[in-house]
Symmetry: C2
Subunit: 186 residues, 2 copies
Amino acid sequence: MNPIGPVNALYPMPTTLVGATVDGKPNFLTVAHVGILNHGTPQYLSIGLGKAHHSNAGIHENRTFSICMPSEDLLLETDYCGIVSGRKTDKAALFDIFYGTLKTAPMIRQCPVNMELKLHDVLDYPTHDIFIGELVETYADESVMDGGKIDIARLRPLLFDMASAKYWRLGTTAGRCWNAGKSLKK
Amino acid sequence: MNPIGPVNALYPMPTTLVGATVDGKPNFLTVAHVGILNHGTPQYLSIGLGKAHHSNAGIHENRTFSICMPSEDLLLETDYCGIVSGRKTDKAALFDIFYGTLKTAPMIRQCPVNMELKLHDVLDYPTHDIFIGELVETYADESVMDGGKIDIARLRPLLFDMASAKYWRLGTTAGRCWNAGKSLKK
């Protein structure tokens, strides 16, 4: 066990497309530095955006954003949204856009699952805005639903790993939570 | 695309064992509600812990914690640490413990990667303490290193999904980040 410096090893993380209205237009940014803060209602999720990004001003202004979950089918589009800026490119033109109850949180019909959030808080870090959203509504395509729940295998998320700089697929199931460890109980 | 209520779909997330010193003793808690807040140095990571957990008081007191990354080999132990409380059970006895520079952030030799963090901030939510840590040092076993970097395929992380209540394996690579989308550039 060797020290390797303060290397962030909290991977993989789900790759998302964050939607926002910026200067009156829908924009999308690829974000995998995300977080689940609590578990409950209201449900709070975080996205960490470098301050240079085009989307930040729109989230500050409208106090809404979306977290869209692309499947592997959208790999090229998802990666593209992380390498070009909405300042120069109409990234929303890649997608069929829709809006939910918040009106200013654009979502993507090609993503099997979309979440709309209202801004709850912003952590002002030197280089990043950490936007904390309260989840308002989730929209899911029937193709990824099973028994009223989202089937993550059908969703086929893109998992991001910084060290390899690759997107990874979800693999097979390894065990049941709150169950597999019961065998160790005395 | 149907509304399904405010269902948190930000999964899978990496399953971690969070280490803390509580009442002078090492304790570990399974946590998959984690987050990457920024990207840089200092690196800030979040863990969301229900207030009923035994570990919270120790993190508040010592202002340190660890985030240990179990591999699939530790599935039973990892799940066990999520279903029994450190109030009644010495969970640290399952593992070979070591400490880094912070002295009060216990880490696990059986985990191929361990991170020690000092407490940067706490978000006080009604039911959860959101502990934000500054990453101080990362410890990795040589078996998961490749060319100076952590090889996530060798790490074999346990990915948590709430809807299925299962641990999932990492799959195969799907594409290169900041690269695959270049084909869409005009």
